[in-house]
Amino acid sequence: MCLPAFRVNIQPAVIKALGFADLSRTALVRLVAKLLTELPGDVGALRHRRLPDDPDCFEYRVAIYDQDQPERPRRFLFRFAVNDTRSPDVLFLVNVRFSSKPWQPEP
């Protein structure tokens, strides 16, 4: 059986909200790369985590360490609302929320 190859489509409102996280460019690249490469493979395991307020979506979480701003290294948790009902082969990111906390990298 051949599993569908999902593509990940990000809405401009989500891209704009990501900007407020004030991630370094390197960390932002890593975040988008994770969405591109890991989200499609995780769909099977996580799509049952439906959002109560929007059952067309499931929740997807990504943690990122941002150590490229040496004056304030931080850990980020991003939570995405992923619509997987609109298309059989495209995952639409339709909301995001993040939180962060200071990170003390290992010396």
Binding site: A13, R25, V32, A63
Partner: protein
């Protein structure tokens, strides 16, 4: 799996504390000299300690690049048991208040009140780490979705990678 064991202990302790709290409210139990009084407070403090460990373990998992995807189950358990813990503490607080104040009771009440505040603080920490989605972003994204304005992740990535490093942080 340390966290799984911790969560199992947490759930067991929380259920036990709930049973104790429910059966504790007999008038003689709430007397400050009663062994039940001491053990109920002690039970609450132990539940507070387990809550602290469980919340800290969950927060560590949420911000861990490798473990975050496994965090849903732990979050479900911790939220449910924390909610139960707050109910238990509220019940004990009511019984303590009804019992009135005297020196031994006042000291126990102060210790208990600090533990109750700590428990509420853990609830706040969870809410801060896992805030609700902003409906305004969802509404805007839905409009954009209808208009087909989304960008594929590979295109966003290519755009970011092509930007000059100096243009970012």
């Amino acid at each position: 799996m340390t966290n799984r064991l911790l969560l199992q202990r947490y759930v067991r302790r929380s259920h036990l504390a709930e049973e104790l709290a429910e059966s504790w409210r007999e008038p003689e139990s709430t007397e400050p000299a009663s062994p039940d009084f001491e053990s109920m407070i002690d039970e609450c403090l132990q539940l507070r300690d387990l809550t602290r460990s469980a919340v800290q373990a969950l927060l560590a998992e949420l911000y861990d690049e490798q473990l975050v995807k496994e965090s849903f189950r732990a979050e479900e358990v911790v939220r449910r048991e924390l909610s139960r813990g707050l109910r238990i503490f509220a019940l004990v607080a009511d019984a303590l208040a009804a019992a009135g104040t005297s020196p031994p009771r006042a000291e126990a009440q102060a210790v208990f009140a600090a533990a109750f505040a700590e428990l509420r603080g853990y609830q706040q920490q969870l809410d801060d780490a896992l805030p609700a989605f902003d409906p305004a972003i969802g509404r805007q994204a839905r409009v954009e979705l209808e208009r087909g304005e989304g960008e594929f992740a590979e295109d966003v990535l290519a755009r970011l990678q092509s930007q000059h490093p100096a243009s970012g942080h």
